[in-house]
């Protein structure tokens, strides 16, 4: 089996499939074989080899007739937060043990309709609550990347850590992620991949296990900006089944990629220069600014005064919504049950044994901030602050077309390194959360390596429903950075 077949970008594979230079079945087998020899990464929770083979055969039949959708024959991995009909869907939680949905999420259904081949479901932080993939019931994912001269395991970021690792290690051509506070962009930055969180409402949330409904959004994780544009087009679109999905046309994002950024105004938010930012992150940011300037963009310093309040406000809004969404896991309708003679005791024992520590913490915080007497001080205040955060961005759009920031305050850290202090872990999302609070599209593009040889990402944030400009700026950064580093495959055939 040629390993070369896993080294294409999604766009290259698509072109070769259409030209009949490779078959979907060859491409599928190459990826299944790569997954088989990458158990050490723990990137997959469920592998669906038989399904992949059937999907690929169907794609080859369509391609032979000159037919096929946007992702025809492309092997992809699905974050295990998406419900997939007949295929175990766990959300990384013990409480969904053995859950086989009898329905398909809209986003995954859109991708299958466009011809994608399903390789399996990827590991993730439990219910997408985490920034390191360490809260998964199925164990942590190991980052394919290691620091120079150091073979200690690093986290791939989270919550879409399995998807990011699978893309970075060339186990699939693209993977789905979801992003509530940075869960696509932070793992993308940690693994040298491209992650795009679309505008809230761009992709249907129907059939995605809910974490925080006013923030959750699905998006693509890929190895190039072009791949991201292709995949987003297949995922996006209005859905009657999600009242918050928005009925606006889905453009051909790929067509936006070659537009020049000449004359585009790029904002640099002063408040993102946080005390204690490592010098190499600041230097990467300056480099990004220089690249865009060289490409003809106009650089404008802007102020987003409420930035520092986005993260604490998020840690009221997200747990509050989570405590409500996760009330459904009661041991009655699906998943795991801890048997007791009394109904309330059954609920309490099921939830105590079924949820992990971080999920319990967030449910308790959420329950507290919504409880009688505290609602105004916490939840209402957070939603007001959220209005101010969104207004900051609105004011910025009068002066600029997109914003450029680093994606994360640091490179990937070690497994187990931040487990003692929840707040230290939360601070990883400080640069990504504001875009969720305002519902804006944002993307992380790999832009360089740290002094220790680990990938670092730059983030582009755009106006609502203007993913095209985000992709256009992202493509410009990608071209200038020429980031072609790949992790050394230490994981092959390791236990």
């Amino acid at each position: 089996m040629s390993l070369g077949l896993t080294e294409f970008t999604l766009a290259e594979a698509r072109d070769k499939l259409r030209a009949r230079e490779v078959s979907a079945q060859e491409l599928g087998e190459a990826h299944l074989s790569a997954i088989g020899s990458a158990k050490a990464l723990n990137a997959f929770v469920v592998e669906t080899a038989e399904r992949a083979r059937a999907d690929a055969a169907r794609s080859d039949a369509r391609l032979a007739k000159g037919e096929g959708g946007i992702l025809e024959g492309i092997p992809v991995a699905m974050k295990d937060l998406f419900c997939t009909e007949g295929v175990v869907s766990t959300a990384g939680s013990h409480i969904l043990d053995g859950f086989r949905p009898t329905y398909e999420s809209t986003v995954s259904a859109n991708m299958w309709r466009e011809g994608a081949v399903m390789l399996g479901k990827t590991n993730m932080d439990e219910f997408a609550m985490g920034s390191s993939n360490e809260t998964s019931h199925y164990g942590p994912v190991r980052n394919p990347w290691r620091a120079d001269g150091d073979n200690r395991d690093l986290v791939p970021g989270g919550s879409s850590g399995g998807s990011a690792a699978a893309v970075a290690a060339a186990l699939c051509l693209g993977a789905t992620g979801t992003d509530t506070g940075g869960s696509i962009r932070q793992p993308a930055a940690f693994t040298g991949t491209v992650g795009l969180k679309p505008t809230y409402g761009r992709c249907s949330r129907w059939g995605i296990v809910a974490f925080a409904s006013s923030l959750d959004q699905a998006g693509p994780m890929t190895r190039s900006v072009r791949d991201s544009a292709i995949m987003l087009r297949a995922m996006a679109g209005y859905d009657q089944k999600d009242s918050t999905s928005v009925d606006v046309a889905v453009p051909d994002y790929e067509a936006a990629l070659d537009r020049s950024v000449k004359g585009l105004r790029i904002g640099i938010p002063t408040e993102y220069r946080i005390d204690g930012t490592p010098a190499e992150i600041a230097a990467l940011w300056d480099q990004g600014i220089a690249w865009l300037k060289d490409a003809g963009a106009e650089i404008v310093e802007v102020s987003l005064p409420h930035t520092k309040y986005a993260l604490p406000a998020y840690y009221i809004v997200a747990p509050a919504e989570a405590s409500s969404n996760l009330a459904r896991y009661d041991g009655v309708r699906y998943g795991f049950r801890e048997d007791r003679d009394d109904l309330t005791e059954m609920y309490e024992a099921t939830r105590a044994a079924g949820f992990g520590a971080e999920v319990k913490r967030r449910i308790l915080i959420g329950t507290y901030v919504l409880s009688a007497g505290y609602y105004d001080a916490y939840y209402l205040q957070a939603q007001k602050v959220r209005t101010l955060i969104a207004e900051d961005f609105k004011n910025a759009w009068d002066r600029v077309d997109a914003l450029l920031t680093p994606t994360t305050p640091e490179a990937a850290f070690g497994i187990g390194e931040k487990n003692d202090d929840p707040v230290a872990m939360y601070l990883n999302d400080i640069l990504t959360v504001p875009a969720n609070m305002a519902g804006l599209p944002a993307m992380s593009v790999p832009a360089g390596l740290s002094a220790r040889g680990l990938p670092l990402g730059l983030q582009v944030v755009g106006r609502a429903f203007d993913e095209e400009t985000v992709l256009q700026v992202g493509r410009t950064l990608e071209r200038a950075a020429g980031f072609d580093h790949r992790p050394t495959p230490w994981w092959r055939d390791q236990p």
């Binding site: 086989r100 809230y200 009242s243 041991g331 998943g335 109904l343 309490e348 939830r351 915080i365 007001k384």
Partner: protein, 95 residues
């Protein structure tokens, strides 16, 4: 804000998560740490600011009021830990 053990026990009860006595104190400390950090929000002047209700501010779609799905009892029950005769089975609640 510092939460005491009794408050943690109360919210755990509200959330239907049993917490053993020995876990109350450490959980109180963890939650207090998070809440103390969150409390910086209090310094933001939000007088006259409307709370966010929708980030995209689009109008909701209307559709004809007719049944579009249903008649899927077996699907609904397919994942139940215990079901019988078309019902979910739970511990007895009425004597």
């Amino acid at each position: 804000m510092s939460l005491d053990k009794a408050t943690v026990a109360r919210i755990a009860r509200l959330a239907r998560i049993s917490l053993p006595e020995q876990d109350l104190e450490p959980m109180a400390a963890e939650l207090s740490g998070i809440l103390t950090w969150i409390e910086q929000l209090g310094e933001v002047d939000t007088d006259g600011v409307a709370p966010m209700t929708s980030v995209v501010g689009h109008a909701l779609h209307h559709r004809e009021d007719k049944v579009t799905d249903g008649d899927r009892r077996d699907d609904v029950l397919a994942n139940a830990p215990e079901s019988t005769d078309g019902y979910f089975v739970v511990p007895k609640v009425v004597e």
